[in-house]
Every structure is written in C-alpha cells, then in structure tokens.
C-alpha cells in the first residue's frame, strides 16, 4: 500500500522555468525511498508540493490516502517532516519551540516530548534558547519536531545537510531504528549518494524536473545495460589485447569490463584462458548508485 502517491505532478514557476515535469512516484508502507538529483533538479519543489507548501500546476498528490490540496489537515495528520533549512524561533528555548509547533497539531504530552527529546540526544540543551544552538543541535531539534506526535510517515528534505560525519552516522542509525521499531515510511531527499545507498530501499532520480530513474538502490545487472564484470590479473597487456579483439571495453583502474551484446562472460573468460592470461579476480560487476547517477546525468 502506498503512503504517498504522486501522479504526473507538474510545476512551472512564475518565471517560466519548469520545476517538475509530470513526475510520478510512490512511497510504500515501511520503505525508505531516496529522492536524488542535482541542485535545481526539483527535489525540494516536490517535497514542498507533498507538504502543501507549493501548489502544483497539474497532477495529484495523495498522502495517507488524502489529497494534499483538498484536505491538507487529514493528509498531514500523521506525517512528520523537515522541509528545507528549519528556521526555529531563536528567542525561545528548544522546548518552547516544540510546544509552539506541536500546538499547531493540537497536541501536547510532556512525557512523550521528553522521550523524543532524549531519543534525538537533546535532553541537556532543550531548555536553552535555540539562538545558542549549533547547526547539528538545530537538526536534532528539527527531527524531534518531526517525530511529535509520532508519525507514520517522515518526509525529510536534506536532513543531514551541514552535519559532521558522526552526526550523519547517528542520523542514519536513528532513522533505521525508527523504521524497525515504528514501521515508519520515509521519503529522504538528499544529494548524498552514500547516504541514500546506505539507508534507502529504492530511489528516484530527478533531472531537470523529470524523473529519470525509479528503482532499487542496491543495483544488480540492469536490464537496459550490457553485462559487465570486474576483471583483474597481472597480465595487463595480454588482457587488454584479448578484450580489444573481443570488442570489449576494459578499464584497467576499476577493472570493469563491459561486454558487447553478442559476447557472454563465459566466452570472454574462455578467450582469456586460451590466450594464457592469468586471472586473479572475476566477478559480476554490481553497478554502484554513483555510477548509475553519473551515467544518467551524462545521458
């Protein structure tokens, strides 16, 4: 069952620039979906539309089964979110900020708040003014507000932006724990490929407002690509010759060899052995998310 359904959403800014072009996607129950794309690809615009901050020109968005434009209150009833850089009230304490924000949801349970504040590691400073917080602490407070009251779905717009490496690891562990313990569905907008690769089950890649990929993050051999293997051995010249004769491209540095359609991995391996090449490493190449992302960017 889809928690978030986006269908053919198009948005053109008043300047005439097309921000989103008939984008569709689904966030399924209990999954972590990554939203990738370069700066200006339309990721934050899409997040804004999902949260009712930006109005689409065409298409529909349903969150928790409710249309965000017609029934925003019901749609966001069990949704927690971080949208762009959260701007808290600097003159209020962290706790006062949480109180002011959760009041908008008509909710206030001090014990639950304290539990979530402890979970995000902010218990020591929650009664201090937000103006004195570091960037990392603001991000923790942002997560705390997103988790109050405990949502069923999290929409996170570059939540680890500006965090130190330890902070990013803590975030990752926390999100995975939340998914495991509460079955949260999470849509994660990020430009950190490693983060998406480690956290997400699937990802959507946007390019200039269009969706160019939707699928698994842990990529096996892609059907639309020629088969590839990782080949390494000490006889570099010989391997290069054989690959050349077989019309394969071999990258000596990465060891990746891309086969033409008419040639199988077994055929190439046989040719190499017959030529007397010593082979130390031969595995099916598993394309990384980075490779996929870059190949889509180039195309």
């Amino acid at each position: 069952m889809a928690v978030v359904e986006v269908e053919s959403v198009t948005k053109r800014w008043s300047t005439g620039r097309l921000a989103l072009d008939a984008v569709s996607l689904q966030l399924r129950q209990g999954e972590i979906l990554g939203l990738l794309g370069h700066n200006g690809a339309g990721k934050s615009t899409l997040m804004g539309i999902l949260l009712g901050m930006v109005r689409p020109d065409a298409g529909s968005v349903r969150v928790a089964g409710h249309c965000i434009e017609r029934d925003k209150v019901a749609a966001l009833g069990r949704v927690g979110a971080i949208y762009e850089a959260p701007a808290f009230y600097d003159y209020l304490t962290g706790m006062q900020n949480l109180r002011a924000l959760t009041a908008l949801s008509g909710w206030w349970k001090p014990r639950e708040v304290e539990r979530v504040v402890a979970m995000v590691g902010l218990s020591q400073r929650v009664h201090h003014r937000v103006g004195t917080y570091s960037h990392g602490m603001r991000q923790r407070l942002a997560l705390a507000q997103a988790l109050l009251p405990m949502p069923k779905c999290l929409l996170l717009d570059e939540p680890t932006d500006g965090l130190d490496p330890e902070g990013i690891v803590e975030w990752r562990e926390l999100l995975l724990r939340l998914r495991a313990e509460h079955g949260l569905s999470i849509l994660l907008n990020s430009h950190l490929l490693s983060e998406v690769a480690q956290l997400c089950d699937r990802c959507v890649i946007l390019r200039q407002g269009s969706k160019v990929y939707e699928g698994e993050v842990r990529l096996r051999q892609r059907k639309d690509h020629a088969p590839a293997y990782v080949l390494r051995g000490p006889d570099v010249i010989l391997i290069r010759q054989v690959c050349h004769q077989a019309a394969c491209s071999w990258d000596e540095t990465s060891g990746v060899v891309n086969l033409p359609e008419h040639l199988s991995g077994a055929d190439l391996l046989r040719r190499l052995v017959e030529a007397g090449a010593r082979i130390e490493h031969w595995v099916v190449h598993q394309a990384s998310l980075e490779e996929l992302y870059l190949s889509l960017s180039k195309s």
Partner: protein, 282 residues
C-alpha cells in the same frame, strides 16, 4: 475549540516572548512619563487652566488624573501607538515568511486559513492589550500625580468634543473609551496584517499601512471628500471618542464600529485569499 485555543495561546506566548514586544510596553511608559513632564513644564498646564476657566469651570476641580490621562493617551497613540501597531501587524505574517518559519509551521496538519485566523486573533488580542496598557498606565501615572477624585475634562478637535464629567461618570466613560478605542485601532492592525499577507517585506507592510492611514487622514481634512467621508476609515475610527459625549450617541458609535469590523473582516478575507495561493519556498 480546545485545539484552536491551544493554537491561539501558543501564538500569543510566541508573540509576548519577543523582546521587541516587551520593549514596546516599556517605551510607552517612558513616553507617557515624558509627555507628563513636558505638559507640566512647557506650559501645557497653564493653557489647560486658561481653557477650562474660559468655559466658566474651576480648573482645580478638573485638573485630575482622568483629564491628564486622556491628554497622555491622545498624544501617546498619535505619536507611537499607531506606528507600533502597524509594526506588529506588518510583522505578523511577513516576518514569519521572511524568517522562514512557515517551513516549520505549515508542515503541521493545519490549514492556512486556520493559521491566519490564529494569527489574526492574536494580533487583535495584542492590539486590545496594548491599548488597554496605554490607557490604564496613563491613568495610573495621572493618579500618582493628582490623586483620586476631581472632574474629567475632555477636549478634542476631531471629533469636535468638549465635555465636563464628574469623577464617577468620568471613570465610567474612560473605561468605556478604552474598549471602543481598542476596537477602532484594530482597523490599523488589520490593514497592516493585510499588507503583511502579500509577498512583501514586513517593513514594507508596516509602511504601506501607515501610508494608507496618512492619506486617509489627509483626505478627511480636505474639502474634496466632504460629501464622501463615509468612505474614509478615519471618519469611523474617531467614533470611539463619542462615548465621552453627553448624551452618548450609541447609534453613531455602533454604526462606526460595525463599519470598522466589516472592514477588518474584509481585510482578513483578502489577506487570506493572497496568502492561501502563495508558494512558500525559499
């Protein structure tokens, strides 16, 4: 209703926790004290004595806390009150937008209409609170200087008003006038709130509201609008002061205040129409 009250009280807490809000109250106290000092030592008291005695009344009787308070209120609201209300009203929506707070507020399950309603009610409460503070703190300062008792002399150029009341009746009229002036000044806050809903800077919203009022006031003075002054806000705003007239023209006051309430409601609806259709993205 409980949810709405919770949302509204959170908004009020936010508003009153701002340093600028509290500094405003202190600024008004200082201004009131300064007006009293200037009134005493710059010949204001002598002119008042001359004026009262010209009407065949005893200055000693009407030189009271209530008389002084009304003079201080008039000057405070004229000099600083309207500017302050325009500033707070202009900040109400536009400042939140400028500071990016809507990125946190509107991702909650609350409609834009409700959020604006909560903000507008907070502004209304703040306007009433501020005007009440100006009025009653002026009276307290007057009581400190003149003590309890005496008469209540009111003189105004616009609306033309010159009344003499006893202490008890005067105190009652004074209390009533604090309420009617709060309601009348809410229109200035509403105008600033409306401009604040437009995609402009908060300072621009405040300046726009003050400019509108200034132009409205100038038109009120001009003979050009003599037969069309019903269209001017100033005409209806001054109706607050008629509670000080004897006998009280309730119908006139009611008409003025109802017109202002209708203007306030219209400004809120227009503001919402603009705000609801805005894309809120940095």
């Amino acid at each position: 209703m409980t949810v709405f009250f919770r949302q509204w009280s959170a908004e009020m807490r936010k508003l009153l926790a701002r340093k600028r809000t509290l500094m405003g109250f202190v600024a008004f106290l200082l201004l009131e004290a300064a007006i009293l000092v200037l009134f005493k030592f710059m010949g204001g008291e002598k002119r008042l004595a001359w004026f009262i005695e010209r009407q065949g009344q005893q200055f000693g009787h009407y030189d009271s806390a209530l008389t002084l308070a009304m003079i201080v209120i008039g000057l405070s609201i004229l000099l600083l009150g309207s500017i302050y209300l325009a500033l707070v009203g202009g900040d109400m929506v536009a400042k939140e937008s400028e500071d990016g707070h809507y990125r946190l507020l509107l991702i909650r399950p609350i409609s834009r209409l409700r959020l604006l309603a909560v903000k507008y009610l907070s502004l209304a409460a703040y306007t009433v609170l501020l005007v009440q503070f100006i009025c009653w703190s002026s009276l307290v300062l007057g009581l400190l200087l003149k003590g309890w008792g005496g008469g209540f002399f009111v003189f105004m150029r616009d609306p033309p008003l010159m009344e003499f009341h006893d202490w008890n009746a005067g105190l009652w009229r004074f209390a009533l006038s604090t309420l009617t002036s709060s309601l009348a000044l809410l229109t200035l806050s509403s105008l600033a709130f409306f401009f604040s809903c437009l995609p402009i800077k908060p300072a621009a919203a405040s300046v726009a509201a003050l400019t509108y009022f200034l132009i409205d006031r100038i038109l009120m003075e001009s003979s050009f609008m003599e037969n069309h002054d019903d269209f001017l806000l100033s005409k209806h705003i001054v109706s607050w002061a008629f509670v000080l007239r004897d006998p009280v023209p309730w119908a006139w006051i009611g008409r003025g205040l109802v017109t202002l309430m209708a203007v306030n409601a219209s400004l809120f609806v227009l503001g919402h129409a603009v705000f609801a259709n805005r894309d809120l993205k940095s």
